[in-house]
Amino acid sequence: MRVLNRIGLVLGLLATSVMAHAGPALDGIQEKQATNWHAIIMFCLFVALTMGITYWAAGRTKSTSDFYTAGGGITGFQNGLAIAGDYMSAATLLGLSAMVYGQGYDGYIYMLAFFAGWPIILFLMAERLRNLGRFTFSDITAYRLDQGSVRTMAAISSLTVVCFYLLAQMVGAGQLIKLLFGLEYKIAIFSVGILMMIYVIFGGMVATTWVQIIKACMLLIGGTLVAILAMSRFGFSYSNVVQQATAVHKLGPKLMYPGSLLADPVTAISLGLGLMFGTAGLPHILMRFFTVTNAKEARKSVLYASGFVSYFFNVIFLLGLTGIIIVGQNGSFFEGGKIGGKLIGGGNMVAMHLAKAVGGNLLLGFLAAVAFATILAVVSGLALAGASAISHDLYARVIMKGKASETTEIKVSRIAVICLGFIAIILGILFEKQNIAFMVGLAFGVAAAANFPVLILSMYWKGLTTRGALWGGYGGLLSAVVFVVLSKSVWVDVIGRKAALFPYGQPAIFAMPIAFLLAYIFSKIDGSERAKQEIEAFEDQYVRGQTGFGAAGATTKH
C-alpha cells in the first residue's frame, strides 16, 4: 500500500511538473552531472518492482523449459510487448532521435530499415521457427543435421552476436548512467551487471520477460509524453515543425532529403539487408518465439511487436524534429551556451534534453530511469540467450549428448549467466574509452551473415547438409568479422591506420552471399551417406514445420 501511495505521489508530481513546464519558459540553470534524484528514485521504484517480480518468478522456475522459455506460457500480447522491448534498446531511443536531430530524414530511413524485417520474419519464418524449435534457434538448424558440430557452430555465432551486442550495451550504459545519474562509470557498470545476473539467474525467462514488458510500457509512455508536450508547442502541426526545423537547421531544406549517411547505393542496400536479415538472426529475438503457447500466439506476438515498434519509431522521428527547434535553439543545452556547438553530454542526449525542456527535471528523471531500465532489460535478454547457447546447445546437447539432467542443465546456465555477467563487466570497464560504434553493426552483420543464411536454408532447402551448414555458418561469421575489422570503423577509428582496406561500413551485401554460396556448394558436393540421410529427413521436418504436429507445447501457465 505504501508503495502504491508513493507511486501515486510520483505520478501526481509528474503531472503538476508537466503542467508547470508546458509553457515555453526554460530555466537556464544547468545541473550537469549532479546526482539526479528524480531519476534515481524512479529507477529504484523500477528495481523494487522488478525484484518483486523476480522473487515471484523464481518460485515458478523449476524446469529447463521454465528457465529458457517461461514454460511457453506467455500470451501473444505480453510477448509482443517483450519483443518490442528487446528491439527498442536505449540506443534506439537516444541514437535514432539524435540521428534525426543531426541528419533529418536519414534517421527516418534507418528506422524503416529496422522495422521492415518484422513482416518478413512473420511471413517466412515465424511458422517454422515455432513449429520446429524448442529453446534456441539451433534446435532448428540442427534438427536433421549432425547435432554436435552444427550446434557448436550455431552456439559460437550466437555467442559472438550476444557478446558484441552486450558489450555495446554495457559501455553505452556506463556512459549514459554516469551522465544522467551522476554515478561513477564503474559503479554504473557493476550495478547493471549485477542486477542483470539477479534477474536472469533467479527468475529465468519469466522474470526477463516481465522486466522487458514493464520497461516497454515505460518507454512507450515516456516517449509519447515527451512527443505530445513537444508537439503542443507547434499546435500539433507537423507542417509547423518541419517549417521551423528546416529554417533553423544547418542543412536547410536538405534536412528532408536522403543525405550523406546513405550516399552510395552499395551502403544503402547493404544497410537495408543487414538490418532486415540481422533482425531475423538475433538469438535473443528468435528465442522469443518459443515463449508462447502455440503458433497462433507466436503470430500474434509479431503483430503486436511490429505495431509497437512502428508506432514508436514515428514518435522518435517527431522527437528528433522537435528537438532541432526546442533543443537546438536553446543555448542552455550547449557547452558554453553556444548554440550550434557541442551538446552537453554529447550528441546522443537530444531526447534527454528535450524531455527536460518540455517537462522539467521530473520528466528528465523519468526518461533517464526509462533509459536505465531499458539497458537492464536488454542485457538480461541477451545474457539469457547467451547462457542458453552455452547450457542448452554446448553443454546439454554437444558435451552430454542429450543425457544431462534438467537440474544440472539449469545449474550450468546459471553459471554461464554469472560468467557472461562478469565478462560483460570486465570488458565494459576495459572498453570505457574505446569507440564502440561498430559493435552493434558487427552484431547485426554476424547475425545476418552467419545465423540467418543457415537458419533459412535449414527450414526451406531440402539439400542442406551438415557440411554445407558448417561452411556457410563459419564462412558467414568469418567474412562478417573480417569485413568489419577492415572497414573504417575498426581499421581507422580503433586501430588507427590511415586508410580502410574495405571501403564499406556495412558488411551484409558481401558477407551474406558468401555464406549462402558456401552452404550451397558444400552441400552439393557432399556425397556422404550421412548427407543422404539428412536430405531424406527433410520430409518429416517439412511436415512438422508446416503443421506444428509434434512441436513443443506450453508446459505451464503464467
Binding site: V242, Y257, P258, S310, N314, Q546
Partner: protein, 106 residues
Amino acid sequence: MSSEMYEHMRNNPKFIKLVAKRGRFAWTLAFIVLGMFYGFVLLVAFKPALLGRPIYQGSMVTIGVAFELFMFIFFWLLTAYYVRKANGEFDELTADLIKDAWKENK
C-alpha cells in the same frame, strides 16, 4: 509413430492444398514488402531529390516522408492480414489434417 503420422499427412491432398495456399499467400505478401522496401532503398540511392519534393506545391510534407509513413502503416496492416488468415483459415485446415492423420493411424 510420429514418422507414420507425418507419412499420413504428407499423402493427404489437404496437406498439399494447405502448403500451396499458405505458401503462395506468404510469399506474395513477402514480395510486396521486399519489393516496396528495396524499391524505396533504390530511390534513396539513385533518386534522392525526388524523395525530398513536397507532395504538392507548398506542402511541408515531402514525398519521402509520406511514402515511408505509408509503408510503416501498410506493412503493419499486411501483418495483421496474415495473422488473421493464418490463425483462422490455415489453422483450421491444419487441425483438420491432423485429425485425418489420427484417424488413419488407428
